[in-house]
């Protein structure tokens, strides 16, 4: 992984420091397309008696609904449903797309195909977006005064801790996801390079590879679930009394 480069376009549109990682663009687009296809084909020819994919998607809807309901009442939480299901599906699929294989160009070792969530920029973007949204809805639904007062609860002297907490929440939300997925990618890369190096390596690395891929599926699902859960927990902290 260390000797693998990324397909970066430096200074996009001539803006200094505005770099673009084409791998992330590709993988996010692929993930989003997969999520959209899942949704679109589930919702095609809807029936009163659900069958097949419609059942799956309805189960997903109920799953997200239940998570929201555990943190806040459904009347308040209904507006966050779209955010919840989109973030869950996108992160889940992003976690999954990196598992089966990785595409690296031969001549300059540039990584094209990997989990986009194994990049801290992407995970932090999602984390900051979620935290900004919680603050936005906190102010919108409780008013600026109540929102401000929350920083002095439960005790006024806890104000500095509350401020630190906000940053810590953001950082941990993004970094947890990144860390898990990055570790997954590194180990998969190591096992893959070991397996590809020689016959002995293939024999030795084969079984751990399969085990680690299975575990990666588990990690990916758990991390998507945790991200969704924490999103709703932070949201309810801000919008509920």
């Amino acid at each position: 992984m260390m000797d693998h480069g990324a397909p970066i376009i430096y200074d996009l549109f001539g803006i200094p420091g505005f770099h673009l990682n084409l791998s992330n663009v590709l993988m996010l687009t692929v993930s989003a397309l997969i999520v959209f296809c899942i949704g679109f084909f589930s919702a095609r020819n809807l029936k009163m008696k659900p069958t097949g994919m419609q059942n799956v998607f309805e189960w997903l809807i109920d799953f997200v609904k239940n998570i929201i309901s555990t943190t806040m009442d459904w009347k308040t939480g209904e507006r966050f449903f779209g955010l919840g299901i989109t973030i869950f599906l996108l992160i889940f699929v992003s976690n999954m797309v990196g598992i089966p294989f990785m595409i690296v160009t031969a001549e300059d070792h540039v990584v094209w195909w990997k989990s986009p969530t194994a990049d801290p920029v992407i995970t932090m973007t999602f984390a900051i977006m979620v935290i900004v949204l919680t603050h936005f809805y906190g102010i919108k639904m409780k008013g600026l005064k109540e929102y401000g007062k929350d920083y002095f609860r439960p005790m006024p002297f806890l104000f500095p801790l509350n401020i630190i907490g906000e940053f810590a929440n953001t950082l941990t939300l993004g970094m947890r996801l990144f860390g898990n997925l990055y570790a997954k990618e590194i180990l998969l890369t190591l096992l893959a390079s070991a397996g590809g190096a020689s016959i002995v390596g293939f024999l030795l690395a084969g079984a751990p590879m399969i085990a680690w891929q299975a575990f990666s599926i588990f990690i990916g699902a758990i991390q998507a679930f945790i991200f969704l859960m924490l999103t709703m927990v932070y949201m309810s902290n801000k919008v509920m009394d």
């Binding site: 770099h19 663009v25 989003a32 009163m48």
Partner: protein, 162 residues
């Protein structure tokens, strides 16, 4: 690594928003509508079933009432018939009794009349018979004079008695 790719942030944000809108339009929007519709449908079905059940119960109640009424009516009819028959029987009995009374009275009157007739006849015969007997006795024991006196006396007496 090392360089922060800020454009990725912007791209992923835009991608996220587009995906959210598309999913709402094409995936969970319609599916949730369908779920809501189904919920309503089920609620409606339950309501209808409940209504039907209530109606059936009502009909059953009505039927029961109807049957009870019919039974009461039948009872009433039987009662009336019994009463009528009793009255009629009474009437028949009393008329029969009156008839019997009348027949009996007639018979009694007849008997009285027959008795009177018989008594009269008897008296006549007794008179004749006694005269004949007396004649026979007197023929033997009395003389002419005495006989005549006696006859006269008897005749007189018989004439007084009759």
């Amino acid at each position: 690594m090392g360089t922060i790719t800020w454009a990725d942030s912007l791209f992923s944000l835009i991608m996220f928003i587009i995906l959210l809108l598309l999913l709402r339009k094409f995936a969970w929007g319609p599916i949730m509508n369908m779920m809501k519709e189904r919920e309503e449908h089920i609620a409606n079905e339950i309501d209808t079933a409940e209504k039907n059940r209530k109606e059936a119960e009502q009909y059953l109640e009505q039927q029961k009432e109807e049957i009870n009424r019919a039974r009461e009516e039948a009872q009433q009819i039987i009662e009336t018939a019994r009463k009528t028959s009793e009255v009629q029987g009474e009437e028949i009995l009393s008329s029969a009794r009156a008839e019997a009374e009348r027949v009996k009275a007639n018979a009694l009157a007849e008997i009285e009349r027959e008795k009177d007739l018989a008594v009269q006849e008897l008296r006549e015969q007794v008179g004749t018979l006694s005269v004949m007997i007396a004649t026979k006795i007197i023929e033997k024991e009395l003389d002419e004079k005495e006989q005549e006196k006696l006859i006269e006396e008897y005749v007189k007496e018989a004439g007084e008695r009759l």
